[in-house]
Subunit: 123 residues, 4 copies
């Protein structure tokens, strides 16, 4: 069973909170700084896909070394997202569910099946 | 009790997976494209902190309208992270825990208390 | 003749400097803030290429409306780069030339023809 | 006299064009890929300002080693902007001037002196 099946978001937030507290790093973890960190890590994740084309990027899941490296960058992104939610007191699960409800209204499944936004409408 | 206390990562992944499947959007969700989406949403999150200084960014948690807007952008970042983990078959909880163990070795608490990296060493 | 053939970098820096001075915006234009602005505009540029594949992105140069929109985003990126160089007192032409000399040493043409870095070596 | 005073944008575009052609790298330089590269380099630039506060970021111009490192990252951003303009056939000087005219209309100096957008209006 994957760890994701039994791990709550709160447990991950606690791992991050403890790590930061043990190093007295809250002083650096202002929301402004953390938003930069998150964007920086997102860019490092992107580096793995910079020079390959779209179909090739679907193959990385079968290359264990690359997949592990990509997983580490994605973890970095998520750690900063957790740290930011800790600083801001955000309930991520609630926030994500509310946003997905909004997205479902914005993009009704029947209308947007197989395409994104107006620009992708067949003409 | 916050939803984060009872929501597993798997449950959030499933919300995203269902949303994408209902719209037949897997065709757009290549890892290359999703890495771009994640970086784009990280930039939109950053916009909220672009012109304010570091101390002011710590005050946004007391401004409900701003906090809600920031929460939505953070949700967008996380939704793409969930979508990417779905595409790549990554166990995020496992990946985050492994990375945090690595980080704890790289930044021993005793040595890095109150400072980041070599450059922050008092001289 | 394109304007690029007769426009110096200094002239573009002056346009930006005057614009900022007339609005008394130097107070916002700290290098930290400007580095965020530059990354935000780079993400907005990327949005135009988010959902299309690599070959399709080569076709946008033949679509005047898209090309104009992309040009505006690239202009935004460059305006912040000019603003940052104004704040830091950087000579961009000198800096670019020096970096390209370094790049030429790092990537000798004979060795890197048709490929990037070690990972792209044919095996 | 700074090199910026005598260097045209076209000259910088030519440096980049020759570098790419000598390595046969046009095949990698699709607009989609270059938009990612530009965002990645913008993030690397941002790294220098990630953990310092806004006033401290104004001091880096007096620290030659840091300034040189920042200049290199800014050069990387600009080189990809030049490469992208080469691929798309964009006249950067024209594009920047047109955008600045638009900006001047959007942000009249009298109205926006000392503040950004509506949110910054004194209340």
């Amino acid at each position: 069973m994957p760890a994701d099946a039994t791990t709550t978001v709160q447990q991950l937030k606690e791992i991050m909170r403890a790590f930061v507290a043990e190093r007295d790093w809250q002083q650096f973890h202002s929301p402004k700084n953390l938003s930069m960190s998150l964007a920086i890590e997102a860019a490092e994740l992107m580096e793995h896909f910079q020079w390959i084309d779209v179909p090739a990027s679907r193959q990385v899941k079968d290359e264990p070394a690359k997949l592990a490296a990509i997983g580490e960058e994605l973890a970095d992104v998520l750690c900063y997202a957790l740290a930011l939610s800790n600083e801001l007191g955000l309930d991520l699960s609630e926030t994500i569910r509310a946003k997905m409800v909004k997205n479902a209204t914005k993009y009704p499944a029947a209308e947007f099946r197989g395409r994104y936004g107006k620009d992708d409408l067949p003409t």
